[in-house]
């Protein structure tokens, strides 16, 4: 379905995508990465909006750059909000279908069906300027689905949706996947993607760091040491105590002798022992916090592995 070989995209001296090689068979995939990780650049390369600076890629067997034949076969829902305030949802979707080559009557029929499928039958004749964020997101999805593409590419489709909207969107996408059609869904929130597909591509700093199933990602997460950040006076003494008890895999000092980061696979044990350590070493702790989201930690670890660390 999608094949990339050593694809690099440079914006001047800024690297958008860095030497990505991957081959995806027809299936549903979640593209996971933090904000600014290169997801949108990768999707723009796949949808033929950008040309790779280096490397080559093919989508549905053809070069996507300005490929009108391929555009017929894909449906794209970009991340950015749509701003045709003075046009009705129906007119807009019909217009885009006409641009896809459908006759006016057929385009109108398909636009009506797609908007109806997404629960917009009542709102479709109203101007989009009066739509809520969730309605605009659903209208965006309708224009991507209406011409029944083989591959659906969605960039952060859950943005701005309330819980009900998220649920409805998830159901539509699940059905799409059940129908055996291709899906590439970009998001920076793991569980959103997990609700739709169990195949993941993990991207960070423009590099494809890992790919695999949900189980594999969770296994990776479980295997990633948790980080405990401590700000105290006498960090070296505290670190020594932690290392002696073999409860940590690594220690890192920050802010001279005042900051300490403990990497551990047994955070609960460390938390349990910490009061005793502070007593024994006479160290006063000013601040104690665990690392951020586990996904963030995972990306950090994966990046270190890619850079040759451990």
């Amino acid at each position: 379905m999608i094949h990339l070989e050593n694809v690099t995209k440079l914006y001047g001296s800024v690297m958008g995508v860095n030497d990505v090689t991957m081959s995806l068979a027809a299936n549903a995939y979640g593209l996971i990465g933090p904000n600014g990780s290169g997801k949108s650049t990768l999707l723009n390369l796949i949808t033929g909006q950008l040309r790779p600076t280096l490397g080559s890629l093919s989508v549905l067997g053809c070069d996507p750059w300005n490929n009108r034949e391929m555009f017929r076969r894909i449906g794209v829902c970009p991340e950015r909000d749509l701003l045709y305030h003075d046009v009705t949802g129906f007119d807009w979707v019909r217009y885009l279908l006409e641009l896809n080559g459908y006759g006016r009557a057929e385009a109108a029929k398909r636009a009506g069906q797609a908007l109806d499928q997404l629960g917009l039958s009542e709102a479709m004749r109203r101007r989009m300027g009066g739509y809520s964020r969730g309605m605009r997101q659903r209208t965006k999805l309708a224009q991507a689905l209406a011409h029944e593409p083989e591959l659906l590419i969605l960039d952060e489709p859950f943005n701005g949706l309330d819980p009900l909207g998220r649920h409805a969107m998830t159901e539509v996408l699940r059905q799409w996947v059940r129908d055996g059609k291709g899906l590439l869904l970009a998001s920076h929130i793991l569980h959103e993607v997990e609700a739709v597909t169990d195949s993941f591509l993990m991207i960070c700093s423009g590099r494809l760091l890992a790919s695999g199933s949900a189980e594999e990602v969770h296994a990776l997460l479980a295997d990633v040491p948790a980080e405990i950040h401590i700000r105290c006076q006498g960090a070296a003494r505290l670190a020594r105590q932690a290392v002696e008890e073999e409860l940590v895999q690594a220690v890192r000092f920050t802010d001279g002798d005042e900051g300490l980061v403990l990497s551990t696979r047994s955070p609960a044990a460390v938390y349990a022992r910490l009061p005793q350590w502070t007593d024994d070493t006479n160290v006063r702790i000013h601040e104690l916090r665990s690392s951020g989201e586990s996904l963030e930690t995972l990306f950090g670890s994966l990046l270190r592995i890619h850079r040759g660390g451990s």
Binding site: E287, L288, R289, S290
Partner: protein
């Protein structure tokens, strides 16, 4: 588990004084505009006429110092380019040093009217349209006014962005050219003859800057799409200018001189009338002579300010 102090925490760093908050908006606006390559290019082009102005002062002073050159070449050239008639020519060729004030003032007026008069239309047309339109579109007002910033400070900050750029291509080069003219003069008594010109430069700049920038910002505040703002800005100048030229043409065809009052249809020509008066080159030094034109500029400023305040106070109201 991280333990945070969630109580109110006062900022203990240094705050920008209240009176200077508009400057934050101005600085940001200037910085953003400067990022535009075309603004930088236009600024470069806009300084070129100052060279002509400096050269004009120098040539005139050389003519005064060396009358034989002046009478032979420079004098007739000036007299030819003058539009004040035979008396000016006689005065000019007869006693050039007496004509100094008139010549310097006219050179400055030409600088303000022709090259800079056109360039500010382009420069303001480049910078002003997104200044407020973008804030309306992105609903940035909610961010601005959730801070201790008044609407007056916001508008003043935006206006000052435009003033800074317009002054950079009008007042500053004119003042520097004046200084250059003095430095290139053979005697220091030039200053005694022309001491009031720097003040007139500042006054002419104010005449040019205040109504035009206020109008440009008001137009920007009326739309969320910069193309409408750009179009409306250029249309104001084009429609007035074309109207006046066409009326002049019809008067020429029927052998008449067009009444001066018709310049009121054109913003460009209205500015010219008032600036001419500021430099002491109008038909009469009485303010009454330019009252309708000054009133029109004042009205443009006031109406634009009213529009600006209304739009900034309730940006979603159309």
């Amino acid at each position: 588990m991280p333990i945070h102090d969630l109580g109110y925490q006062t900022w203990e760093g240094r705050l920008v004084p209240e009176a200077g908050r508009w400057w934050v908006i101005t600085q940001t606006g200037m910085r953003l505009a400067w990022r535009t390559r075309w603004v930088r290019r236009l600024m470069l082009v806009a300084w070129m006429p100052a060279i002509y102005l400096g050269a004009g002062f120098f040539a005139f002073e050389q003519m005064v110092a060396h009358p034989e050159i002046g009478r032979g070449i420079v004098g007739p050239l000036y007299a030819w380019s003058w539009q004040t008639g035979e008396s000016a020519r006689e005065m000019f060729l007869g006693n050039p040093s007496l004509a100094r004030h008139d010549v310097w003032a006219r050179l400055l007026l030409m600088f303000f009217r022709y090259p800079q008069g056109t360039l500010i239309v382009l420069l303001v047309g480049l910078i002003a349209p997104p200044l407020i339109a973008q804030d309306v579109r992105s609903r940035a007002f909610t961010l601005y006014f959730s801070r201790p910033l008044t609407r007056i400070e916001y508008i003043f900050g935006k206006l000052a962005t435009l003033w800074a750029y317009v002054l950079l291509i009008t007042t500053i080069p004119a003042l520097l050219s004046y200084l250059l003219g003095v430095l290139l003069s053979p005697e220091l008594n030039v200053v005694a003859h022309t001491w009031d010109l720097p003040l007139k430069i500042v006054a002419a700049s104010a005449v040019l800057v205040i109504p035009t920038t206020t109008l440009a910002l008001a137009i920007s505040s009326l739309t969320t799409e910069t193309r409408y703002a750009s179009f409306a800005w250029f249309a104001v100048w084009a429609v007035g200018w074309v109207t006046y030229i066409v009326l002049s043409l019809t008067a020429l065809d029927s052998g008449r001189t067009l009444d001066r009052k018709w310049t009121l249809v054109s913003l460009y020509h209205t500015l010219g009338i008032v600036q001419e008066w500021v430099f002491g080159l109008g038909p009469s030094p009485d303010f009454d002579q330019i009252l309708p034109w000054a009133a029109l500029l004042a009205a443009i400023t006031v109406v634009s300010l009213v529009v600006l305040f209304r739009r900034v106070s309730a940006p979603m109201r159309m």
